[in-house]
Point group: C2
Chain length 336, copies 2
Amino acid sequence: MKQINIKDLAKSLGISKSTVSRAFRDNSDIKPETKVRILAAAEELGYRPNLYASNLRGAKGKTIAIIIPEFGNNFFSQAIKGIEEQARAKGYYTLIFVTDDDVEKESTFIKELCNGRVEGVLMSASGEGKKHNYLRLLKERNIPLVFFDRYYEDVEAPVVTGNDYESSYAATKHLLDLGCKRPAYLVVDKNISIGKIRMQGYCDALKDAGIDMLQELIIECGNDKGQIYRVLKKSFAKLRPDGIFASVERLAMPMIRICHEEQVAIPEQLKIICFSCLEFADMLNPALSTVQQPAMEMGRTAAQILFELLQGNRKDDEPQIILLPSKLIPQKSTIG
Amino acid sequence: MKQINIKDLAKSLGISKSTVSRAFRDNSDIKPETKVRILAAAEELGYRPNLYASNLRGAKGKTIAIIIPEFGNNFFSQAIKGIEEQARAKGYYTLIFVTDDDVEKESTFIKELCNGRVEGVLMSASGEGKKHNYLRLLKERNIPLVFFDRYYEDVEAPVVTGNDYESSYAATKHLLDLGCKRPAYLVVDKNISIGKIRMQGYCDALKDAGIDMLQELIIECGNDKGQIYRVLKKSFAKLRPDGIFASVERLAMPMIRICHEEQVAIPEQLKIICFSCLEFADMLNPALSTVQQPAMEMGRTAAQILFELLQGNRKDDEPQIILLPSKLIPQKSTIG
DNA sequence: CTGTTAGCGCGTTCAC
DNA sequence: GTGAACGCGCTAACAG
């Protein structure tokens, strides 16, 4: 069946196209009864104004993009949920892009988006902190960008993220206070902004406690599941840390698994704490101590800022960084 | 800064618009050097063909919609990941819609989508099995629909789902084989297709084992977190089942929590098994027996079918139901 | 190979 | 309150 257009509808009602058009625009002069009649006929015949034609004429697509490095972990699921909620409330659509931690893909996505498909972009960065010229494209097209969680330091845009430094410091101190002498830090990639900041918290906590930081106890695990497991297994055997602070949940879980395999007692022989948004952290074996980020709120806040930008209620040129506090939740994996 | 358009670019190069247009279309006759020159200039000036104008001209938006009842659980996260992957490979964009289990919202979304925003729809149904006229709108506009996981029986469209009946039968039998005499079935809503089918498996397994099914052991828990907890707490106290088969993970977790609170030994006093895609089910306390659905594959398969439909490689009028087998993974929560 | 011309479906001036 | 005419940015058909 052919999609019916405005002309068809106008003809079938014996009126002109513009009158029909007016019936669908809120603020136009049109006799109420005519409007009702038109809308009824539209419903009847299944007419809907063509999206592309309307947009071409100047209207916006009411769409925003969410670009994230990975999908299927709790943090991003919840953040998206927060974004979704805000977008829906504003009548916006959300397009989702997953980079798989690949900056190239990120760049490709951004370039693609510059054709007007979206009005704004919410992004959690996939790479490290330098040389992100492709993000200038957005600015050139007046497409506002808001970072959430992971951001680029060299890009001027609002950022909503966690108080990662403080939480990492606190998590490390938590381990030290409980008697750890050789706590290790697990990170996917030392050079990615978020891993770096969290590492700084770890390092400073050690320093302030008067403990020498050992480079080897900063363990870079990479992204591949098999690789993570192998690196952890080997590192643990070699280094025998007595505490683990994992920058992401994905690294803590295999560590726990390895402890089970090797009969290492948690927390007696090894205390573990990690960043995590797992809803069931307290039901793990052992219940896992976590630094819990307010993921949903982060998404929500970032979306709010984006919409302020979109509506012109916020100045673009005063970039800002908003830190949302995480919560340290001690459980058996550290306190026994 | 004003977005540059095709006319500007043509003028600045001293050529015609159509030549520029051709440079961006793959199969057009154009001198290679001219093409290179145009693309270079485009890059230089930051020109990108306007999406809406192209689409208006007849091209498609290369966008599909994913409509799901809820977000932030593992099943849907993974299913979306599977869909994403396929869509990306085909150069398609994915728009995500979350209904919060509200059929009204579902209906609204579908109606919105009929303006040409998407070429196809992947949906996991939010309501029960009858009266879904709004889905006819899609058919009228030749927008193909593919269900995944949850579907409507009265709507003619391909379905990709799990072998829920068999798995539920197997899960229940698993409990019975281990000695359960009074296994309860936990469900969000008895009338939703997926809850119904799983219940059938439960009922039939009981019947085949010669055990009388007690209506009261079929526990409807609803959707609200607090409510679920209260219902479970009360039902457990009253009914004292010796086994639990939960149709979704969301219901099993609070049940375990209640067991912890009330010092009920799992699996000795209560054996628990549930549908779940939790990656860490084996690391829970106790390790949780699950029926694991191939979520990602389900998303992938549904997307593949949608794209076949879109490319005309598959007949729309031979709706089909594809059952992807789930895996029963026994853990400590049942076998000890 | 390239330029010219004519719409795609709609919203927005203007007139009336 | 309504209709006629124009153009948004682009692509396809047709000439050359």
